[in-house]
Symmetry: C2
Subunit: 105 residues, 2 copies
Amino acid sequence: ADVANGSRYGLIGQMLAKPGERDALAAILLEGTAAMPGCLSYVVALDTKNPDALWITEVWDSKDSHAASLKLPAVQAAIAKARSIITGFGHRFETTPLGGAGLAR
Amino acid sequence: ADVANGSRYGLIGQMLAKPGERDALAAILLEGTAAMPGCLSYVVALDTKNPDALWITEVWDSKDSHAASLKLPAVQAAIAKARSIITGFGHRFETTPLGGAGLAR
């Protein structure tokens, strides 16, 4: 088991798209988040109950890496592109990831 | 962007441990879930608000792979070991993962 020293930072959150724009929003997010330093996992998924909602689950090697990612050009571009089709956010949970399969070490 | 054909299956859920047993539960889960066919991601994380709660986020290449994993010896052993220190479950969301960083293809 890979019980980390508690330094990892995780986010689980819902993002809400304008009706009919969910796939476009997902594509923007996937494009902008492909190469972020310190990102161990970033998954974009469809909510199966709300047709306008995406679930985004993230694992970072630290909270600082997450904060720094928001200044990356690709992320800034994605935020700018996505702004017009995001209507809001839903659930949002902060976590401390311990480990697991599929995490880049 | 890796917008899948909608066949992937994802789960986001809280698992509640007996007070003081959360780390033990996490270790059991991490041990039992290290090698599951079709599992693209399985992350065990501490809830930062509830000291007894874990967040488990999973991505599978299909719902069938997830169902089959429950019969794996290692998973059955983990369930048996964990049963005595699980008090219940919290939030549980099913998703359709589209893609992202850190997903085994």
